[in-house]
Amino acid sequence: MPARDYAPVILEGRPKQDDEILATRPPPDAATLPGGGGSEVIMELLQRFKVRDVMNRQVACVARAAPLREAQRVMRENRVSGVPVAENGRLYGIVSVNDIINALDGGWIDDPCETRMATSLVVLEAGMPLAYALRYFNNYTYGRFPVLDADRRLVGVISQRDVMRALLLELTVEVRKLERKVSDRQLERPSDKYLHREYAVIRNDLSNAGKAANEIRQILKDKKVDRALARRVAVAAYELEINICIHSHGGVLTFILADDKIIVQAKDRGPGIADTEWACRDGTSTANDWIRSMGFGAGMGLSNSKRVSDAFEIQSEVGKFTRVICAFDRLVPREKIEKAGSAGT
């Protein structure tokens, strides 16, 4: 039976803090999160989704005074291997199937749950990104974790199955979108010379930032695009990719290679820029010290992109998005014009 078929139990009330029993572990170091070399789409989903988006909110619980036999009944009816012991939203412990086996064996199946339950618990917070939750599943052998909100109230339970189901649903949506795009493009542009690539860029994922620009550089090299032009395109792609990574909530870098032109577009999901003219000036940056210590945040990303482009456009709406388009002329690249100009003087 899927976890969502749990009997609904309303959990209310705020727990006391004086006799806290929960043994929460600190979240894993962000540097050890999965994703090195993993799919960027999945990594983006794991960061975007929070535990609360995926968890099962209908949790079957038992009271502290309930006999273990009652916990056994709840487990059997809901086909789960553990049941939280909770009252008025406060989590006191968990009774597992092992506790029931021991109780049957030892003859204390009618004892109150509170005398036999496990009280040293690992819990997740509802606001944690799903990537953190996956680390817990990897680090511990438990199949499911109780989820607490900011007020330490039990608000749900999350299992690996819940995570898989949410990811599969979202990936199905993404794949359908992709299929539609590919199909549309094949109808629109049958030319082999037309190439379209999209790269998801994840917020603060500096270990992968630059990979899209590097791939674009390689494509331009393989297609034997003029070296100086290719360099300008790669610089714009790199600057825009880094900008999405360090300044936005994440977004997509799009690369289009056509017979007559090359387009690099960066579109993010906010926070947006109030004054785009100011942002395009040399030396203006909102990067923090951590970003600067990595060599980024010189405040030249947009101005560099503009300088290397033949046409440049920026649009932004605060709280919604920023879109930057850099266009390059393949038929009359600026290098040819400059060469012709210097030959004539």
Partner: protein
């Protein structure tokens, strides 16, 4: 200027050796966008930025030699990327200014 000449002048060690690597000019910078905006092709880059993205920037501007200052170590991922992309790395205990002075025969790479 060859890689060996650069190493000798800055009193450093070659952390990533690339055959035939050389420099015809020099640029000093620690901010990657600044380097991309101003450094020219074939320059030696004097910097303290010892990470992967420095290699990415060098491949974009066409720099073949990095002079890493203050004895900063070269992380394994940076060394691997440098070797793959053909960017030599020299590590020197000197500061950026002292390293640049040692390479004063190279013209500025400023665009």
């Amino acid at each position: 200027m060859t890689l060996e000449e650069i190493r000798e002048r800055v009193g450093g060690t070659v952390a990533v050796d690339v055959e035939g690597a050389s420099a015809g000019s020099c640029y000093v910078g620690d901010l990657l966008s600044d380097i991309m905006g101003h450094a020219g092709e074939g320059c030696a880059l004097v910097t303290i930025q010892n990470h992967l993205n420095t290699i990415a920037v060098c491949t974009l501007v066409g720099c073949e030699v990095i002079v890493l200052c203050h004895g900063r170590p070269v992380p394994p991922d940076m060394a691997a990327a440098a070797a793959r992309e053909g960017v030599a790395v020299v590590v020197t205990p000197r500061s950026q200014y002292a390293a640049a002075l040692a390479l004063k025969e190279l013209p500025p790479a400023d665009k």
